[in-house]
C-alpha cells in the first residue's frame, strides 16, 4: 500500500486505480476459463491471450510493480496448469511475471489511458511475452521454436484490438 502512495507522491499526475471487490479475481478466472473453453467451439479464439491482456491491464492500472509481478505470476502459473502436462509449470509463469512487472512499472511513468497507447503497449508486451516464452523454451527447456511467424504478428494485432475494447470494459470496474 505504501508503494502506491509513494508513486502518487512522485508522479502526482498519474492516477493509481483501485477496483471493486472481486474484480481482479473475477476477471482473472474468467480469462482463464475463456482461454481453456472457448477455443473448443471457435478454434481461432486460441489466438487471443486473455490472461496476458488481464496481466497487462491490471499492471498498467494498479501501477505497483510488486502487485503486478505477483498477479502475473499467479495468472501465468494457472495458465501453465491448464495447458496440459507438456507445458511445464513456470513457462507462462515467468513470462507473465516479467510482463506484470514491466506493465506496472510503465504504468507508473506514462499515461496509459488512451486507446492508442493501450494498442501500442499491448503489441509490445505481446511481443515481449512471446520472446520470453521462446527464450525459456530454448534456454531452459532446450526446445526449438521459431522466432517469428506471420501468425504471431497477426495474433499481436488481434490481441491489441481486443485489448482496447477489453480495457475500456474493465475501466467500468474501477472505483470512482
Amino acid at each position: 500500500m505504501n508503494d502506491t502512495f509513494d508513486i502518487r507522491n512522485m508522479e502526482s499526475h498519474i492516477e493509481v486505480h483501485k477496483f471493486r471487490g472481486g474484480a481482479i479475481v473475477g476477471a482473472t478466472l474468467l480469462a482463464l476459463m475463456f482461454q481453456a473453453f472457448v477455443p473448443v467451439y471457435f478454434a481461432k479464439a486460441a489466438m487471443i491471450d486473455l490472461p496476458l491482456l488481464i496481466t497487462i491491464y491490471f499492471g498498467l492500472s494498479r501501477r505497483n510493480p510488486s502487485t503486478g509481478l505477483l498477479l502475473g505470476m499467479i495468472i501465468g502459473l494457472l495458465q501453465d496448469s491448464l495447458s496440459g502436462p507438456t507445458v511445464p509449470l513456470g513457462l507462462y509463469g515467468i513470462a507473465k511475471t516479467v510482463i506484470g512487472y514491466l506493465a506496472s512499472s510503465i504504468g507508473a511513468r506514462l499515461d496509459t489511458e488512451h486507446p492508442a497507447a493501450r494498442f501500442a503497449l499491448t503489441i509490445i508486451f505481446f511481443g515481449l511475452h512471446q520472446g520470453i516464452v521462446l527464450l525459456t523454451r530454448r534456454i531452459l527447456l532446450a526446445q526449438s521454436s521459431v522466432w517469428f511467424t506471420m501468425h504471431l504478428a497477426a495474433a499481436a494485432v488481434v490481441n491489441a484490438i481486443v485489448a482496447v475494447f477489453l480495457f475500456a470494459l474493465l475501466d467500468h470496474f474501477r472505483k470512482s
Binding site: 481453456a36 509481478l69 496440459g84 512487472y101
Partner: protein, 351 residues
C-alpha cells in the same frame, strides 16, 4: 526487507519470483511428477465450470437454433423457409442416414476385428490454455477407467493419446503437438515412418527416404507398430513433399479435424491391439515385413536406426507410440482387417 531501498524492493522481488519459477522448471525437467499437485488442484477447480459451460453452450445453441434465429423473419418468409428447411432436413437426414449406414458398416467391420477392445465416448470440454501445447480436456477420467497412454480417435481418424488422467477428466495430447507421435505408414506403398506434430495444424512424416515413391494426396494410416492404435486407421493426407537430406520432408493434413473436436472416442486398452486375420473381404495389403524392396529386405538398415535414436531423445515426454513405431518391422503383420477409412469412433456414442 531491511536495508534495501524501497524502490529496489520490487526488482528483488521480481528476481526472486523468476528464480523460483526457473527452479520449478528445473525440478519438472528432472522429475516428471513434480508440480502435478498444482495441476490437479487447478484442473479440479476449473473443470466443473468447463463442464457447466459446455452444458450451457449446448442449451444456448439449441435455443438459438430453434427459437431466436427464426424470430425476426417475416411470417411468409418463415413459412417458405420452413418448407424449404423441412425438405432440406429430409434430404440431409437421408444423406446422413446413408452416410451413417456406410459408417456403421465400416464400424461393424472394425468392431468385429476388435471385439475385445472396449471403447468409450467422451466430450471435449476444454483445450490447452496456451499455444505452447496442443491438448484437449475430456469429460471422462479415471472413474471411467481411462488410463494414461490410451489412444483417442474420431470417426475421421486418429486424434492423439491420453497424457494425464484426473478423477473426472483427462487430457489428450493431440497429434499436432510437438511432442506427439504415432506409428504410421503410407497408404499405397506401405512404407513405415512415425508421424508427429510440429506445433502447427499440419503433421510431419520425417523418416521416408528420398528414393521411396510418395505422392501428394496419398493417404497416411496407422501402422499399428506403436501398440496403441490398430493398423490402418486414417491419420491424414499428404499435402506437401520436399526432398531433404537424408529423408524427405513430408507434411500431412490430419484426417480428424483437430481444431474442431467436440466428441471423441477413447480406446480403453493399454494392451497392444491384436490384428484379426480372418476378416472376410479384407484385401491382403502388403505389410512391411512381406513387402519386397528396401524396407523389407533391410530391416536393420540405417534408416530405422536413425529413427530410433531420434525418437529416443525425448523418451520421457513422448508417447510410447513413437518408440515402437520407430522399430523396424520385425514381426510379420497380418493383412489389415480394418478398411482404411474405418470410422471406428462412432461405434460408441458419447453419453
Amino acid at each position: 526487507m531491511p536495508g534495501i531501498p524501497s524502490r529496489h524492493k520490487s526488482i528483488f522481488l521480481l528476481a526472486g519470483v523468476v528464480l523460483l519459477q526457473v527452479l520449478l522448471l528445473a525440478l519438472q525437467i528432472k522429475r516428471d511428477s513434480e508440480g502435478r499437485l498444482i495441476r490437479v488442484w487447478t484442473v479440479g477447480a476449473f473443470s466443473p465450470f468447463e463442464r457447466a459451460g459446455n452444458h450451457g453452450i449446448g442449451h444456448l445453441r439449441e435455443t438459438w437454433r430453434h427459437y431466436f434465429a427464426l424470430q425476426n423473419t417475416s411470417r411468409e418468409n418463415e413459412q417458405l423457409r420452413r418448407e424449404n428447411d423441412e425438405l432440406k432436413m429430409q434430404v440431409n437426414q437421408l444423406q446422413s442416414k446413408a452416410n451413417e449406414a456406410d459408417r456403421l458398416a465400416l464400424l461393424l467391420n472394425f468392431h468385429k476385428s476388435h471385439e475385445n477392445v472396449p471403447m468409450l465416448g467422451a466430450r471435449v470440454i476444454a483445450t490447452s490454455a496456451g499455444t505452447a501445447s496442443a491438448t484437449i480436456m475430456l469429460d471422462r477420467g479415471s472413474k471411467d477407467h481411462i488410463k494414461k497412454n490410451m489412444g483417442v480417435i474420431t470417426p475421421e481418424g486418429v486424434v492423439g493419446k491420453i497424457v494425464e488422467v484426473y478423477d473426472n477428466t483427462s487430457e489428450v495430447l493431440l497429434l499436432t503437438d510437438k511432442d506427439s507421435g504415432v506409428g504410421a505408414m503410407l497408404g499405397n506403398s506401405r512404407v513405415q515412418s512415425p508421424v508427429g506434430g510440429a506445433g502447427e495444424p499440419l503433421l510431419v512424416m520425417k523418416y521416408v527416404a528420398n528414393d521411396d515413391v510418395v505422392n501428394v494426396g496419398e493417404r497416411v494410416v496407422t501402422s499399428g507398430m506403436d501398440k496403441i492404435f490398430p493398423r490402418d486407421l486414417p491419420i491424414g493426407t499428404i499435402t506437401d513433399i520436399k526432398p531433404g537430406n537424408p529423408f524427405k520432408s513430408i507434411r500431412i493434413r490430419p484426417s480428424a479435424n483437430l481444431e474442431r473436436l467436440e466428441e471423441v472416442i477413447v480406446l480403453l486398452t493399454l494392451t497392444p491391439l491384436q490384428m484379426n486375420q480372418e476378416t472376410e473381404g479384407a484385401k491382403p495389403s502388403a505389410s512391411v515385413a512381406t513387402k519386397p524392396g528396401p524396407e523389407a529386405a533391410k530391416p536393420e538398415t540405417a534408416k530405422p536406426q536413425t529413427v530410433k535414436s531420434e525418437t529416443a531423445k525425448s523418451e520421457t515426454a513422448k508417447s510410447p507410440a513413437s518408440g515402437p513405431a520407430a522399430k523396424p518391422a520385425s514381426a510379420p503383420l497380418a493383412p489389415a482387417p480394418v478398411p482404411a477409412s474405418s470410422n471406428a469412433a462412432s461405434a460408441v456414442k458419447p453419453e
